[in-house]
Symmetry: C2
DNA sequence: ATGAAAGCGCTAACAC
DNA sequence: GTGTTAGCGCTTTCAT
């Protein structure tokens, strides 16, 4: 059967065993229809008997496909966050949702999704991996304006789809949610609740998503003619706490806060409550993402939902068509956010 | 230069360009020392000029190596957790630390680490990926006693190292921390604080790690002759909250709690405080892991530290030697835990 | 419908 | 120290 010491069986051995040619076995394996059902049966038995597994290197040497694509999470440089990149990445529910959404479309196609974390020390490795043709293309989660990775990959000719609007123009597809609209929905809600002194805790302002959410906040706040301020956070729970503390001391009159993601909102919630503020009575809080963190908050968090899984699925589909038809010009897809009302606002 | 439309340059083209044989170019690429420095220079120029990148499929077809190894996170079946596997996995800081630790040893060797999440729908895919020789071996994070994956991989002849003591005996190496000793350290501390009514919030008891921590708790509690009880949790923050609530109602006299991981401890802390218990005055709490969550707790969490990064590094090293010398018999490595004292106990 | 044969791009003996 | 040569295991025309 397997012969764990000697070499694994090859197509040729299966062919001999079945008494047919290599070509026939290959056809059976690849599901080509023009094979006599009887013969096919024979071959299948031979495959089972020998324990044959196709050698991928050999196959992709000739097909130039690998049937796997990379999910690359990029971090352009160390920005002195308290928690290191890897921990931060893996603590953010966002990535899990992206993975699930992409798998959903890739799995039925038999395409493998391999995950890479490209922090600065790993970057050159990941680049090499992608250049060497280990994968057919990449889904790139890159959130910083000055991240060189999108440009590098496109220049290298690696088919790529980005997870959001790139900071610098890059000639490739991306998928994004209408961030400004989402922020506006949050402000509209706070305004309808009668809040007059609004604040927003933003993400790092070198991220397009953070910029867009802030811009949407400012648009809406002006439209409603409300008092407003903003504090920059870093998308982590701890960052949310710090921002909330700073807000409390500089703008104690604040009665409504739009926080640019749920994780920070959770941190902010705790700080407000420790300071004796009731949520939502004294301060109404709205988050962004509708991640699992939103449900873990006390009170549960009203938040702007982005359909992350669907967006990731769309990324996968865009990438697949890009791989199949490299000549076609890149197209991007924008999704609508949705306001989810819970207890915090 | 790159010629993005036509095929990428091959070794042969570089050889022609440089006016040498393929073998020489190959030697330069692979850093073989027996090459005339002058020629080497020439070849390097040719490589740069042509923009040559080695074709991995071709290489691994002959070398039978891929220079990449998989980090597989396995979940044997859906157990009705509130949060889905992917989210849960990516929300747990543990995985980030494992990744970092493994990268530390793999990176200098030029070996790629690719991450796979093997929940039930993905399992067969991941298995196929590994069988097909996409990677040279796998680091397997598998925590359930009845997870079939370790056995399957070993039977398939895939070199594997496990992240903790396997539930069923499997003939392969593993790395683990001395879980029982860790639990004992926590109890010793609580006892030394004068706590008499102890409780533990365990992990899912179908995980060896959870079993071991509970066993250690029970050993120590008996040694100190203390009142004790336990509630089963699920290693999530929400699970910690639920367990703490149940504890509060069934054993309100509890004055010391050992929680089997930091995430649950964070949840428990919140519940205790919402119920008006002061930590550590009324209830002392000790976690396990010393993950970033421990620092985000209020008050900061005393906890049992396992050197996850080092352990992951050791896993990588064990795997590498297993790949190099498949005949050598598997060896396992046990690390010592360390009690980290902060504010909660 | 099936088989024969020609590579895919690279490494590793082996000669020189 | 360098070149020649023989595959690695597979897919894919092209005949038949």
């Amino acid at each position: 059967m397997m012969g764990s010491d000697s070499r694994p069986p090859t197509l040729e051995q299966v062919a001999n065993y079945a008494g047919v040619s290599r070509a026939t076995v290959s056809r059976v394996i690849n599901g080509v229809q023009t094979v006599d059902p009887e013969l096919r049966r024979t071959v299948e038995r031979a495959i089972a008997a020998t324990g044959y597994v196709p050698n991928l290197a050999a196959r992709s040497l000739v097909t130039r496909r690998t049937d796997s694509i990379a999910l690359v999470v990029s971090e352009p440089e160390n920005r002195g966050y308290e928690t290191p990149f890897l921990t931060r990445t893996f603590t953010d529910p966002y990535l899990g949702r992206v993975t699930a959404g992409a798998q959903e479309v890739l799995r039925p196609l038999g395409i493998h999704l391999v995950i890479f974390l490209a922090d600065p020390p790993a970057r050159s490795h990941v680049l090499r991996y992608l250049r060497q043709g280990h994968v057919d293309g990449a889904l790139l989660i890159s959130s910083h304006v000055d991240d060189p990775l999108p440009g590098l990959l496109v220049d290298l000719g690696v088919p790529v789809v980005l997870s959001c609007r790139p900071g610098q123009p890059v000639n490739t597809s991306f998928v994004d949610v209408d961030q400004r609209a989402g922020a506006r929905m949050a402000v509209d809600r706070l305004a309808s609740l009668g809040r007059r002194c609004l604040a927003t805790i933003t993400g790092p302002l070198d991220m397009p998503a953070a910029q867009d959410r802030l811009a949407g906040f400012q648009d809406a706040v002006k439209a409603h003619d409300l008092t407003h301020t903003h504090v920059e956070g870093d998308f982590t729970r701890g960052g949310g706490e710090r921002a909330a503390r700073s807000l409390l001391s500089t703008h104690p009159e604040t009665d409504g806060v739009f926080v640019a993601n749920d994780l920070m909102a959770d941190g902010a919630l705790r700080v407000f409550q420790e300071a004796g503020r009731r949520v939502p009575e004294d301060v109404a809080v709205i988050g962004f993402d509708d991640s699992t963190a939103a449900l873990e908050c006390h009170p549960q968090l009203s938040t702007v939902r982005q359909p992350v899984e669907e967006m990731a699925g769309e990324m996968a589909e865009l990438l697949l068509t890009r791989i199949r038809e490299p000549a076609r010009s890149p197209r991007s897809v924008i999704f609508n956010p949705e306001l989810i009302l819970r207890a915090s606002a």
